[in-house]
């Protein structure tokens, strides 16, 4: 009476096929990541040493370390963050907590999504035109960082807005009903409960900023600078651009060195992502709703 019918068996077969197909796709997704990271570790691993990290390149960048590029990347990321985080978080707060739902707000939201879709090379040209030439910053850390900031703003805004909107409306209502203003509500309830998401967004932005090449190419990165940057108006080396340069523009660079730079770069990005995930898990554990 309860035995399988032919129809049952047919459903099970298609169900098994579907499951296998989805599993294979998932594996296919992981394989490239493993190959990339594996190749980098195998080929670039031997190049990594304290000396590699903390000395400048020598012999036309065919030997030596990557210190100026490493320091330059840190400069670029920090200055970009200083520019984009305040603007992005403030904009997200306005859009999420204050702005009425009207045509203007929707247009702004659309603009943010579109800004996220602009190719990075277009951002590079914009940055060159706007910051380097029009604002006369020259090719400098400042111009490059501002270009990166413009490019990553949508990420910050979207991540911040999403974590703000994840705070239940009931919390806001509770505050309003006790006579709190919007700003008091934001400061005492909304921000403390969304800070984990906001920080995660910021850290993800850092990892993206660190890896970008195109936007800094015309705006502040140099193939070789003999000294470490002293201020935001200096040109600088950067890991991503350094990698591009020694891999495609320079001859006689040992393979190990190129892969070593790539390994450092990807390590920074993965480390940042890991920090971000760990942070999120930790802060989520603190939440109690």
């Amino acid at each position: 009476m309860f035995g399988a019918t032919a129809l049952n068996r047919r459903s099970y077969r298609s169900q098994a096929v579907a499951k296998a197909a989805f599993f294979l796709m998932t594996v296919a997704l992981v394989i490239p990541v493993l190959i990339i990271v594996g190749t980098l570790v195998v080929k670039g691993g031997p190049a990594i040493s304290w000396e590699f990290l903390f000395t400048p390149p020598t012999n036309n960048m065919t030997a030596g370390g990557i210190l100026p590029a490493l320091v330059g990347t840190i400069w670029l990321v920090v200055v970009a963050l200083l520019a984009s985080v305040p603007v992005g978080v403030a904009a997200a707060l306005y859009l999420s907590e204050y702005a009425p739902d009207n045509i203007l707000t929707r247009a702004i939201n659309l603009a943010i999504i579109n800004l996220a879709g602009v190719p990075s090379i277009v951002h590079a040209l914009f940055g060159f035109g706007a910051f380097v030439l029009f604002f006369d910053m020259g090719a400098s850390i400042l111009a490059a960082s501002l270009t990166l900031a413009v490019m990553t703003l949508p990420v910050v805004i979207v991540a911040t807005r999403e974590s703000l909107q994840a705070v239940p409306l009931a919390f806001r209502e509770a505050c309003w009903n006790m006579g709190a203003t919007r700003w008091q509500t934001i400061r005492k309830v909304v921000l403390p409960n969304s800070i984990s998401g906001i920080l995660t967004g910021v850290i993800l932005e850092v990892s993206r900023t660190a890896g970008e090449t195109a936007p800094i190419m015309f705006t502040g990165a140099a193939a070789y600078v003999a000294f470490l940057p002293q201020g935001v108006f200096d040109q600088t080396m950067a890991l991503s651009y350094h990698l591009y340069f020694i891999a495609t523009q320079q001859t006689g660079v040992p393979e190990e060195l190129t892969f070593g730079v790539a390994l450092v770069l990807i390590s920074i990005v993965l480390l940042m992502n890991a920090v971000s995930i760990g942070f999120r898990v930790y802060l989520r554990g603190l939440k109690k709703w």
């Binding site: 009931a170 919390f171 509770a174 009903n177 006790m178 006579g179 008091q184 005492k188 309830v189």
Partner: protein, 261 residues
């Protein structure tokens, strides 16, 4: 806001109409809620009970597309007046929601949230004073003995019943006169419902309480007066036992007997 003359009514609406966009939710509502008693509002879903309740402290305006005509007078003052400060309105008229919504902070911080918000900016509050406010508020809602040893634990760890009591307790430190309750027991089990009802009953006299409920039995045993609403209009308003035992309108009788709802 200047204190107007206070009649018998804590809340009085005159010719109140309300629209959500093009949809009219309230029609010519004339309601007088007497001071110091518990008034319940019953009626089928979508009849405008919650809308009317939320109009009384203007929280409804947060929706943005709401339009009203007519007047609402609370404690003798027109709450739509030009010189009305929303913060003051909300202080005097506390609101309790269907689902308990304690803030994700400690029990102590929850109770003192409004107090700190409003008092701490005017003067220095001593720890002793805070403790006194905390204890008296929690005692009023019969929660003190349960939570006195874990005041610094997260409020979200309490049971729903305790959370709802806490949500009422945290309104009290800013000295409201009217408490609006939107189905305060509907998320609770029968025992919790009874406990919260009993607690609300004890607040009677000190506060004017307007409570929306779907639970006819609750309206019957825990209110002095009862308002029956249907399709955005007030159909009947009288002493609770009269509304239940001898309703004047056929619609009220049908609803109470469970013919629709």
């Amino acid at each position: 806001m200047a204190d107007g003359g206070r009649g018998d009514y804590a809340i009085e609406t005159r010719g109140l109409n309300l629209w959500y966009g093009d949809f009219q939710a309230l029609f010519d509502v004339d309601l007088g809620v007497k001071q110091g008693i518990i008034t319940s509002m019953i009626g089928p879903s979508g009849c405008g009970k919650t809308t009317l309740l939320r109009t009384c402290n203007r929280i409804i305006e947060r929706l943005g597309y709401v339009r009203t005509t007519g007047s609402v007078t609370v404690l003798g003052n027109d709450i739509f007046g030009d010189d009305v400060e929303l913060v003051q309105v909300r202080k005097k008229i506390g609101m309790v929601f269907q689902r308990p919504n304690p803030l994700p902070i400690s029990i102590r911080e929850n109770v003192l949230f409004g107090f700190r918000l409003h008092e701490a900016r005017l003067r220095k509050i001593t720890a002793a004073e805070e403790h006194e406010v905390l204890e008296s508020s929690l005692r009023q809602v019969l929660l003190w003995d349960t939570v006195k040893d874990r005041l610094d634990k997260p409020a979200t760890g309490l049971s729903l019943e305790e959370q709802q009591k806490l949500c009422i307790a945290r309104l009290l430190p800013v000295k409201p006169e009217v408490l609006l309750m939107d189905e305060p027991c509907s998320a609770l089990d029968p025992a919790g419902t009874e406990a919260v009802e009993e607690m609300i009953w004890r607040l009677r006299g000190e506060y004017t309480i307007l409570v929306v409920t779907h639970n006819m039995a609750q309206a019957r045993r825990a209110s002095d007066e009862c308002v029956f609403m249907l399709l955005g209009r007030i159909i009947e308003h009288g002493r609770t036992e009269e509304v239940f035992l001898a309703p004047e309108c056929q619609e009220t009788a049908d609803y109470i007997e469970g013919r629709y709802g």
